[in-house]
Amino acid sequence: MARLRINSRQVSRMKKLATEISSDVQELISRHSSVSIERTILRLYGVDGVDEDGTPIPNLVADRVKEKEGIENGISHFFAKTMAKTGKSSQKTAEMIVGGKIDFSKLDKVPQEKVIQTETALVDTALHVLDSSRERKHEKETTYPSPKPPLRYLIVATGNIYEDRTQAESAVTSGADIIAVIRSTAQSLLDYIPHGPTTEGFGGTFATQANFRIMREALDRISEKEGRFIRLVNYASGLCMPEIAACAAYEDLDILLNDSMYGILFRDINMKRTFVDQYFSRLICARANIMINTGEDNYLTTADAIDNFYTVTTSQMINEAMAKKAGLSEELIGLGHAFEVDPEIENSFLYELAHAQLTRQLFPRSPVKYMPPTRYKSTDIFYSHTLDTLFNLASILTDQGIHLAGILTEAIHTPLMQDRHKSLSSINYVFNTAASLKDEIEFKRNGFIEKRTRQILGQAEKFLKEIQKKGLMKVISEGKFADIKRSKDSGKGLDGVFEKGPLYSNPIMDRLEQDIE
């Protein structure tokens, strides 16, 4: 395979810096929890459903507890105690809490060993949710042949889960390996997960557990028909990161968009909230064998890809370090990057090859996710189709893991069924016609491509040093990523993050951490 000669010592130094940066953040994480984490615990304990207004029971329980008892010490112990008291199922217990049927003052009377016993059982159930999802996936992986990377990743985004299903089936017919259901605009800013099957989204479809299930079932059916394992993706980053991870585990999702900084930068979600949430979310993913995808590609939709590619590399290293802290193996860390150099620049394709190949070599065991050109797509669909064709070539040539299909109507509308078909017919052609190109050419020594990667590594190392010195939060607040400034104590969801009380416990987290190695 064509390889760039990169300085492995420099790379080790950089990865070490990234680990130090993440350790610094981890210290903050360990001192905090969030309402979303507590709700996740409830969900994994089996609490589900909504009230008449559509507010999820987990939210209502958490709010109630917060209000009555305070949430600083976590919800788990309290919930176990209540359940021990009621002797009912977790769902029933939750409903009773919400219905005001529990006299909080009387809970102290429940014997501690009964509480412990109940809580242990709950945690076992929770872990069983994750472990059984892992096992089901493992089974599919062994039943079906391994797809040849790059995996063909197609998005559906009609807003209506049933139409999405039709679209997904069509995409699979044309060759898709992975289907991602894009989330409705601004769902990431909702501090709850909508419920049930939904048919009205904007720019995407709501991520709900029911929608996950509908799509999972459809894809399982088609997997069987086609004799290929079709993977399902949704989006976690946002105010409900860990909860979505829990729902994803219930419904056997294979991949979650799950970035440690995306919410901060692109959704103005509070930093602490995001850092804390992503950790628990990723612990869940690691256990349930859900691959994460990060969102570095987004940086290049606003910042220039030539000037700022080093921020992508830097962010990938930090994301990786943080993911490893959450127990994710390299195989489950799908780092993102994108083909976003201005096509009018002479030799822009050489820049793209350098960026893609560098990413590939820096994370050799990770199934890197490669995003198509979006920013420089034209409303001239024929021209845009040629950009995607070279993107497809760059992907097969640099051996990417996951290939997000570029769509010729990117600059016009969310994809039509026929747009996806055209995209796949280009991908299928290019991946086949240039299947072994990577093994048959070499990058010139000290040529443009190698020099460019060296430049990026130099810039990224410098940047990592700066971050290591100043701390990640400081650097974000200076607008060093994607030209976006966010400060530590602002942003959405700030009120939902809290410092752990002296008696705080999250036994699921404890167990997950414990089992990491």
């Binding site: 409303t379 669909i381 024929f382 109507t409 039509l416 069924m417």
Partner: protein, 247 residues
């Protein structure tokens, strides 16, 4: 029968979405874009988005449009126009000929007129065939004579007479300025003028040929893209048995 009303599908049933592109002979301008929109509205389209416009020459502007088509079509009323005979395999066809017709089928083929494209007629007639389907020359029960391209109608007819052919197979690829229509018509008219039309099964083929068009032009059948030889052979034996009153 229940109606089945359909319209184009973008990403939602009956959204009617179509993609359209064309060039207008006017200079690129905002007015030109408006003209494109107005023009599209005359094509029974609504919610017209002139997604793209670019100047491609002095006084010519190219447009890409997405819009919703208004009409509904009753799919149950659509009548398919393909040749309708069971599609048999080579050995079935040979057996049928041997058992029922009891003699070889003689077929003469050519690309007529100025058309120099032989690949189409070769695909049907030559040994090698097309898409893993053997050509007529390979059939033990066919005598297939491929005259190649740029054959005059006269030459084709006299070869057919000489060999006492059952069928004449005609190919046309170039369709610009309706060249193919002229050539096809010339052949039929010649046959009719000489009172020979009834003597042969006359089959047309080519990338822009449909069964419907062929019949319109006075042929017995027409075959378009993706035709394989066994389709043509199936058609021929069925029609010849029919013609000769053999059951």
């Amino acid at each position: 029968m229940k109606h089945q009303m359909i319209k184009p599908y973008g990403d939602t049933l009956n959204d009617g979405i179509v993609q359209l592109s064309f060039t207008l002979p006017v200079e690129y301008s905002e007015k030109a874009k408006k003209a494109a929109e107005l023009y599209a509205s005359q094509l029974n389209l609504e919610n017209i988005v002139v997604a793209h416009a670019s100047r491609i020459a002095d006084n010519f502007t190219f447009f890409i449009i997405y819009a919703s088509a208004v009409p509904m079509l009753d799919y149950t009323s659509v009548v398919s126009t393909e040749v309708k005979v069971p599609h048999m395999k080579i050995h079935q066809i040979n057996r049928l000929i041997r058992d029922k017709l009891k003699r070889k089928i003689v077929a003469v083929g050519a690309a007529i007129g100025s058309d120099a494209h032989t690949v189409g007629i070769d695909a049907i007639m030559n040994m090698k065939g097309y898409h893993q389907d053997y050509g007529l020359e390979r059939y033990s029960q066919f005598r297939a004579v491929n005259m190649g391209a740029q054959v005059t109608s006269e030459a084709l007819i006299s070869k057919a007479l000489e060999l006492n052919a059952d069928a004449i197979l005609v190919s046309q690829t170039v369709t610009q300025k309706d060249t193919h229509i002229r050539h096809f018509t010339e052949l039929v008219e010649l046959l009719e003028a000489e009172n020979l039309r009834g003597r042969f099964i006359l089959v047309a083929g080519g990338p822009k040929i449909t069964n419907e068009l062929a019949i319109e032009l006075g042929y017995d059948a027409g075959f378009g893209p993706h035709t394989v030889p066994s389709m043509v052979a199936s058609y021929l034996i069925v029609k010849i048995l029919e013609k000769e009153g053999i059951k």
